[in-house]
């Protein structure tokens, strides 16, 4: 997702605004759209449909009987003793995912703004190198990065060994902090890069002018720099929060194989637990929550005059 401040249109006329001879026909997009309708639209449709079906007796697949039980099961638990009660299990799973993503987003934001600003204020050659350094992890498989993190924070890993010299017990692997740490590690470049993209375009003369006019340094940061890189921050927040919410590997590899994030529960229901309809209902819920979040972001940024685009 990209967010841009709506600046006045530049002199070079924009390609999209004028229908002129020689431009490509919209029909070109038909093939991709049809393909995607099949490869993306239909799977999503299937998930929605499955969420209203019943689980067959032998587990995998669906039984073509309409039911809203799956959605009820998200919130109401049919206990073993026959009573029904509020099912906090899945609410907890959703809440856990939300909290983990929130923490990840906040921490990466706090770390990324200084880093992006710092890189943007280096000289041109160092900047290219630094951007490359930040970009490289982004290109390395999340699996490998998560695995590397796991080895580092393992009890007998380098941190543990170092701290044991001071007789400090280090044991965070296979616990929530480990999962969150993994999320932060994996998503940090996703936050740095968009903020840097905004920071790079920032003209420091504005800051210096403000300073010359008597503003304190903090005010300059607050009223001039931050608003200018706000689009980058919004992009970064979206690029981190949304995938973190739906992340699977970190909880699985760093959290001890537990299913306490949404993606893990969905995966489990399509695997060992063999309850596709329920997994689908949870997936639909995740989609709805994600869309809600995006609408909020769009609302917040549009009110401030920013334009948010998906692609």
């Amino acid at each position: 997702m990209t967010a841009t401040t709506s600046a006045p249109k530049s002199d070079s006329k924009r390609l999209e605004n004028r229908a002129r001879p020689g431009q490509s026909s919209p029909k070109l997009a038909y093939l991709p759209i049809i393909f995607l309708a099949f490869a993306i639209g239909v799977p999503l449709l299937i998930i929605v449909i499955y969420s209203f079906l019943e689980k067959p007796s032998q587990g995998t697949g669906v039984k073509w009987v309409f039911t809203t039980e799956n959605y009820k099961a998200l919130f109401i638990q049919q206990k073993l003793d026959g009573t029904t009660s509020l099912d906090t299990r899945y609410i907890k799973v959703l809440w856990t995912s939300f909290i983990y993503s929130l923490i990840t987003t906040i921490v990466t934001l706090i770390l990324s703004v200084p880093v992006a600003m710092w890189i943007a204020t280096r000289d041109a050659r160092r900047r290219t190198l630094l951007v490359a350094l930040v970009t490289l992890p982004f290109w390395i498989s999340i699996l490998i990065r998560t695995y590397g993190m796991r080895q580092i924070i393992a009890d007998e890993g380098p941190i543990g060994k170092f701290l044991s010299l001071f007789n400090i017990d280090w044991s965070i692997l296979y616990s929530p902090p480990a999962t969150i740490l993994g999320l932060i590690y994996v998503f940090l470049p996703f936050m740095i890069l968009p903020i840097y993209a905004s920071a790079e375009r920032f003209d420091f003369r504005l800051a210096e002018a403000a300073y010359d006019l008597g503003a304190k340094k903090l005010t300059v940061v607050r009223k001039i720099i931050l608003p200018s890189i706000r689009p980058g921050i919004i992009s970064g927040v979206a690029l981190v929060f949304i995938p973190a919410l739906g992340s699977f590997l970190q909880s699985d590899m760093l959290g001890g194989g537990k299913t306490n994030m949404v993606a893990n529960v969905i995966a489990n229901n399509f695997g060992q637990a063999r309850n596709w309809p329920f997994g689908s209902a949870l997936a639909v819920l995740l989609i709805v929550l994600t869309l809600l979040f995006i609408l909020i972001i769009q609302g917040v940024s549009q009110r401030r005059g920013d334009k948010v685009e998906l692609v």
């Binding site: 759209i33 299937i46 490998i144 590397g148």
Partner: protein, 272 residues
């Protein structure tokens, strides 16, 4: 950024607005944080001990094991096959979509953008299990072909990003000139639009390839026997952990990603 006179505070002290307190150490810390797991993986891939965490002595034997491991070769071959096909198809479709989107009406455009951008918004697990459902409903056997279709779908938005960005920056002048000279749509496309977009298309293809090679969740759910890709295989290894061998594979992949990135930087610099 141009150099301007360094501003002075009211008390006359020199103030460099380019240096904020704490930013420097934070930046170094972040870089250290980003790279220490990767450095660890590389270093410990040379650990001769079977038990990962304890350093025994320097050895390249795990690399030897990687190269004689048939399963890894197979997984790599699958990853590359799926990757190349997905990259090719998704880039072509992305170019078509980028060009077609320019002149689409609001409603169609919204649908198109929603479909294209879906993999970016929706958690991969959802699309992965949905795709599984699709293949079962249609009766497609779980295998490489299905995987290629799935990969192409989620690679399209990534291939599209650089292309759309470049398209919005293009200057109208060459197009106007060509139209004035009587070129038709196809000619403009072939001789002006595509060449101008070439670097962006290349960047998009690279991005799509990286995304496809690294993909885990979709490949995990949709791949059948004989279609195991490298990340899925590595995941299985990590689960049963023959640790140093995984570090060796990871290091090799690191080298690969690094060289691709450096290569693309060099190519882009040459073009300028």
């Amino acid at each position: 950024m141009t150099h301007t006179q360094t501003p002075t505070s009211k008390r006359g002290k020199l103030v460099n607005l380019r240096n904020f307190p704490g930013f420097n150490p934070t930046a170094w810390f972040v870089l250290f944080f980003l790279y220490s797991p990767l450095v660890y993986v590389v270093i410990y891939s040379f650990n001769s001990s079977r038990i990962g965490a304890v350093w025994e002595s320097f050895s390249v034997k795990w690399y030897g094991k990687v190269f004689e491991n048939d399963d890894i070769q197979r997984a790599l071959k699958n990853s590359l096959q799926v990757g190349f096909v997905a990259t090719l198809l998704s880039t072509i479709l992305a170019v078509m979509a980028a060009l077609g989107l320019l002149r689409m009406k609001r409603a169609g455009k919204a649908v198109a953008i929603a479909l294209i951008g879906a993999p970016l918004i929706i958690a991969e697990i959802v699309l992965a299990v949905g795709t599984l459902g699709l293949f079962i409903a249609v009766g497609v056997p779980l295998g490489k072909i299905g995987l290629m279709v799935a990969h192409t779908a989620f690679c399209i938005p990534f291939a599209l990003l650089p292309i759309r960005a470049r398209l919005s920056q293009l200057d109208m002048a060459p197009f106007e000139a060509a139209a004035d000279l009587g070129a038709n749509e196809r000619q403009i496309l072939r001789r002006i639009t595509l060449p101008l977009l070439a670097p962006a298309i290349f960047a998009g293809a690279l991005l799509a390839f990286a995304i496809s090679i690294d993909d885990f969740i979709t490949s995990f759910f949709v791949a059948g026997p004989g279609a195991t890709t490298l990340p899925v295989y590595i995941f299985g290894m990590i689960r049963s952990t023959v640790t140093p061998e995984v570090n060796a594979i990871s290091t090799l992949l690191l080298l690969f990603s690094g060289s691709v990135l450096i290569g693309s930087y060099l190519i882009q610099r040459k073009r300028r």
